[in-house]
Amino acid sequence: MTEEQPLRVVIVDDEPLARGVVREFASRQPGVEVVAECANGFEAVKAVSELHPDLLFLDVQMPKLNGFEVLELLGRSVPVIFTTAYDKYALRAFDVHAIDYLMKPFSEERFAEALARARTRLAAREEMPVEDLLSEARPRTGPLERVLIRDGSQVHVIPVDRIDYVEAQDDYVCFKADARDYLKDQTMGAVEASLDPARFVRIHRSYLLNIERIARVELYAKDSRVAILRDGRRLPVSRAGYARLVKLL
């Protein structure tokens, strides 16, 4: 079998020497072209959105964004081979349908094997519903500590305690944090399930509120209440939402 188009790969690792190993092994494989090397997750998200590579060699432990968060942000089927010194992520890698899991240090033979597996997988054009699998795997790791939002090739990392509230907007949700709006392509239900239920309460069909932001709740009309935030903003509270709020406080 001859490859007409070279396999375009991106290497992501925060250690220059570790990138060097992949680059060197890849250079001796026929039909492989390294199109980018990234030292962190932000660069990786940017490179993948701009270059659309065929394959990603991805380290797990990196500053700011780890390998799994990079995958979550990419949100589409990017075939991935993880490279890490830790064996504890192997199960999670399996969950997100990684093609292979290379344990550092790895041999050139093992690298070639992983690459062959990637070619087979690409030839079969397997679709990998990464997003579904990620949300399935998430509950095992507990509630989210940071929300990742991709804005083109830019990435925002929002620690959950900076979020004031989340508002549903048509097909999107809008995270209100640090006096800014961050749009994300996700359902309200998925957001609610991923955040800590002891800190975020669904006060209304369209609003998920950080309870630390509440100043008080006022009766607005019969059976209709309004939550007043510390900064003065007012959000509607439904009857079911009020019941949930009372239960939590």
Partner: protein
């Protein structure tokens, strides 16, 4: 179970010793009682051998009134009481046996007041002797037990030490370092060799420090420097280091105390920052205390993991065991910096 019956050979030795005592009593009876050797032996030997079994009770008496736990009065009263009763029993036994001898052989085995006091004195003396031997034997046994306990304790503490040591050398540190060497072998063979040597140096030093109790601060700082040198090969320019003993080089500190904190500074601090940062390890000395500080920049938004606190908790419990309340550990985060300060009392370097 009585120690005499615990092993077969012991009873034979015991009875042999008692045969000697029997000969002594026989001789005394023959000479003082004027009975002649034949009657003396016939009277003395069986009596003494029977008394040998009475005197086995001395072991139990010594058990019920242990030397260490009993007062002098109780000790003397018990010894005298037990020996008096036993000697009285011996006298009764002797009286009966002599009577029978008198009947059977017609020998003139007179049992006068003289003989009574002789037999009583012998009985009391021998019983007290047995009691003394019992105390010596049980003391020796206790010493052996204590020795074994101390030895077991030593084995346990050494095992604990090994466990902590094994936990301290993070396997991922090794795997990542080996991966760096693998990268260097083709691109920079001299660099690969240098990394091997750095790693070997660090491992050798940390293994030898693991078996030491307290070491001069200079050695601990040297180890931290070696560790950071190895990590610098991996992280490149992202990791910078500064180590300064501040004149406290000679102060003795617990070995491998700073090491887990320095490792945290890299893995939980600098490694989480895109731009990396400087790890500063400094020390200062006052007349009575040594203060060590590890500082590093950290990402305030880094994901919090509970695992990071283990190293610090170990340091705290170790210092508590060594110095009680006299050592302090303060960890704080502010302005994007993580800072751990340890203060321990000065222990002067011993002159060899």
């Amino acid at each position: 179970m009585h120690p005499i019956f615990a092993r077969g050979g012991r009873l034979a030795v015991y009875l042999t010793v008692w045969t000697l005592a029997g000969l002594t009593l026989s001789a005394l009876l023959a000479a003082r009682g004027g009975l002649g050797w034949g009657v003396g032996l016939a009277a003395g030997m069986p009596l003494t051998l029977a008394y040998a079994f009475v005197c086995l009770s001395a072991w139990h008496v010594s058990r019920f009134t242990p030397l260490a736990a009993s007062g002098q009065v109780r000790l003397i009263a018990t010894s005298l009481g037990a020996s008096f009763l036993s000697a009285a029993a011996l006298v009764l036994l002797a009286r009966g046996w002599m009577f029978l001898l008198d009947r059977w052989t017609g020998a003139d085995a007179a049992f006068g007041a003289d003989t009574v006091s002789l037999v009583f004195g012998f009985g009391q003396f021998v019983y007290l002797l047995s009691l003394a031997v019992s105390y010596i034997v049980s003391a020796a046994e206790q010493a052996r037990h204590a020795e074994r306990r101390a030895f077991q304790g030593q084995v346990l503490s050494r095992e604990a030490e090994l466990r902590t040591l094994r936990a301290q050398i993070d396997p991922h540190f090794l795997f990542n370092s080996l991966h760096s060497i693998s990268a260097l072998t083709s691109a920079d063979p001299a660099g690969a060799r240098r990394m091997c040597l750095l790693l070997a140096d660090f491992l050798r030093e940390s293994l030898s420090l693991g078996s030491a109790d307290r070491i001069p601060l200079a050695r601990e700082l040297k180890l931290a420097e070696k560790y950071l040198e190895v990590e610098r090969v991996r992280y490149g320019d992202r990791l910078r280091l500064e180590v300064d003993a501040g004149g406290a080089d000679d102060c003795l500190v617990p070995s491998l105390l700073l090491q887990p904190i320095v490792e945290n500074a890299v893995t939980h601090g600098v490694a989480h920052r895109l731009e990396g940062g400087l790890v500063r390890v400094t020390a200062s000395k006052s007349p009575s205390r040594v203060t060590m500080v590890v500082e590093n920049p950290c990402d305030p938004d880094r994901p919090r993991r509970t695992g990071g606190g283990v190293g610090l908790a170990n340091v705290r419990s170790r210092l508590g065991a060594l110095y009680g309340n006299d050592a302090t550990v303060n960890a704080s985060e502010g302005d994007g910096f993580w800072r751990v300060e340890i203060s321990v009392p000065v222990v002067a370097r011993e002159n060899p």
